[in-house]
Amino acid sequence: MKQSAIEPKEESRPAPTGEGAIEVEQHIIEIVSDSGEGAQTCGQMFGTISAKMGNGIWTVEIIPAEIEPPHRSRAGASGNRIRIGSKPVTNAGDTADVVVAFNEQVLYSRIDVGALKPGTIVYLDKVWDSSPQDEVREAYRAAVEDFRRMGFHVAEIPLEEDCLKYTDEPRRGKNMWALGMLCAVYGRDMDVACGEIRKKFRRKGEVVTQTNLDLINAGYNWALENLSERFFVPAVKDIGEMVVMNGNTAIGLGVMAAGMEICSMYPITPATSASHYLSSVYHTVGGFVHQAEDEIAAIGFALGASYSGKTAVTITSGPGLALKTEFVGLAVMAEIPLVIVVVQRGGPSTGLPTKIEQGDLLAALFASPGDSPKIILAPATIEECFHYMVTARKLAEQFRGPVIVLTDANLATGQQPFQRPVPKEEWLAAPIVQSDWDESVPPFAWDSETGLSNRPIPGQRGGEYVLTGLAHDEESHVAYESSINQRTMAMRSRKLAVLQKSLKPPKIHGDPEGDLLVVTWGSTLGAAIEAVDRLRKDGYKVSSVHLRFLSPFEPGLKAIFQKFKKVMTVEINYSDDLRMPYINEENRRPAQLARLLRDQTLLDIDSWSRVPGSPLPPGAIEEELRRRLTAEK
């Protein structure tokens, strides 16, 4: 007899029916296990299978803080959240609809961070119920009761038990069984699923592959026979050629497609995996990753390469950016093209090394002493992580200076399908010019309108010059004169204004006027739009605008803002809250983008910013916007 789905206790959730599948627009599934039990692989594969079937997906990693945390501990929870939808999915959403948990402790860790809500369906391995250890049994049983009390629909599943039929190492097989079970619940195409398994275990040999196929089938069959709930998430039609990857991989691929041959880095979470990916494939395009002795050497090496004609990229996170500060100033001063990717994590200092924050905007902009105008971009999606590498290199060369690309831990580890890019030869770096340089043209022949100039490359006869970080004239000769200093500062600054001229105003999501405009940057795009859309459905006059260029800004912002009664940013960084003791308009420290926009537009731009160490869920944004919109009325 089929095990019945647990009685629904909440109106908000459609009751899982017995036979026919319930159609849903989107669903959030989590798989959590002890670190090392492979829930991450399970989740990623479930995401890929869904993407292949035409669903929109977004996956995020659930990562423990330690390398090998103890088993059955809250701190050890490892896994994945997968949000699948019938439209492109842009963020990880709010609370989970379905959770597969390999033990009750890791489930607790998800409850602690608010990932579940009453009504969430929980599939929990029941192996602990028959543990030889009394404490384990008791802990398990108490937890199940606890979970039910909290309103979750708990189904106890024979995860380890059934796996033992196929493998002696159930800890390494449970994830595939769970994948099979989910495939049944979500009606996934088992041909696609088995294909993925074959791909995944290709290098491990036939035996391993077969065991895993057995396991996925076992999970699938068990669910078909024993579970009654089925969900159906319709596919996006006609998706075209899509790829799915995380943001750091997209950066790596983008670096290659942009024709940059050198990535010079020093390991730092959460940036390093981009260079891991590059390290594994870079040689196929003739590139190489230089792991330097520290971050200073990493950027110095990159600048040396750039100076010699091979524009390089350096990839880091906050603490590494801090160390690169002095060299960034040199790149500005001596106008050396360079791409600097900063994958933001929680700060200040070592902070929350594996978690997301958008806290490095002001540091990117202002860290180098003296006036250091530079270009700053922030991709909003994983697809943009790829394409912005191409853009960044182009801008670095055209505007002859460093370009900082700010991503974050959310983009870095999140996965999302997007249109497969078609790399173009014109994106690649041109071969180094070795023809003579017209000697009458100085190495810094600034166009006095635009500040732009071309640079000679070692090897070009007639172009010999000595690059220097000292104040210098057009010939790159050291110059102490007041007027030269004033002029060259203006030349370097001017380039930003010139770049702005070539940009278009950002598109407004929603109506071009209304009660409230939400301004965002970076990875908050998807969640903010989702929140805005929900409110718009409810009749609120709210729109949003997303900034991708942070230095210079895209043009037309003030004009856009002025059409709204209120303007606010939503950011993942710290700002003072006026409701807190001692805080007032005079001393409030605003959120980072808000600060820049206030300075520029002189409009009273408020913000809602938080530092939870996790992406802002659309529901939380929605709630805050609703509060403000309602307070208005």
Binding site: H290, A297, G304, G463, L470
Partner: protein, 318 residues
Amino acid sequence: MYGLKKDWVLEKKPRVCVLEDYMGAEARWCPGCGDHAVLNSVQRVARDLQLAPERTVVVSGIGCSSRFPHYMKTYGFHGLHGRALPVASGIRSRRPDLDIFVVTGDGDCCAIGTAHWIHAIRYNMNMTVLLLDNNIYGLTKAQTSPTTKMTERSNTHPRGSFFVPIEPISVVLGIPNASFVAQTVDWNPPHLYETIRAGHEHRGLSFIRILQRCPHYTSHVFAEAQRDTSRILYMRHPEGINLPDAMSKIFKNQVEHDPSNISEARDLAREDAGVLPIGLFYKKPDALRYDEVTAEGLKMSAAEKIEAINNALDRFMV
């Protein structure tokens, strides 16, 4: 010559570079500063080896000595204090065709630049590194450097330094993969020249410490060694750096040292011996060169790259 550069027919006749072709801005070091002699030697080596000025890059940090590139008429990179070596390594990584010199000071290299120094030796990328060691911070006006002798006074230690000075040669000889380690003095131009030339001809990183006089701040430091050649220990060997007999004769103190013998090199490098060894301490011609790794794939065509990127992308197709 330059006037003709667009005329390719005329360019065909063999190009000969003369000393002036390597001479940049007028050197602005103090009169009598040892840096002048080093500049002169580098220019002569460049001329004698007919290095193309446009394919020669001189990289430096910050300091009196680091003004060096400005006085050459080649490409130059006068970067940040302590950071010449990473920059030079980056340049080298994809440009096997260039001739690279690095000029650094005892503060630049042995204080703020220590980490890069140690690791550059290990990377052993092909370049000639000149440490202009005047035992002082010159540009910032006389502070103790890591090589300042004990009890010497400076502006930061007006009552005399209480640090045991670092021995740059000993340090370098403690790093695996060191491939060319030599020492010379600015006041013996022939030896200076031969050392730089040998360093340049070595394939790999040649580390050359040059004891350099700073008459402005530390005029007395090398005065003895300069006056009394018996304070110098001349190391000779067929595989080493050798002066013509007539010139080497002036060194009363000589030793035969095989530059492949690292233990002996380390013993010789110890500065407590009271003599100043010059010549080649150590050479390992077959030491691993990182620049041979970094230059792999340089010749790949755009089409090949596009194909590889497509392959990489395909692995993520859904």
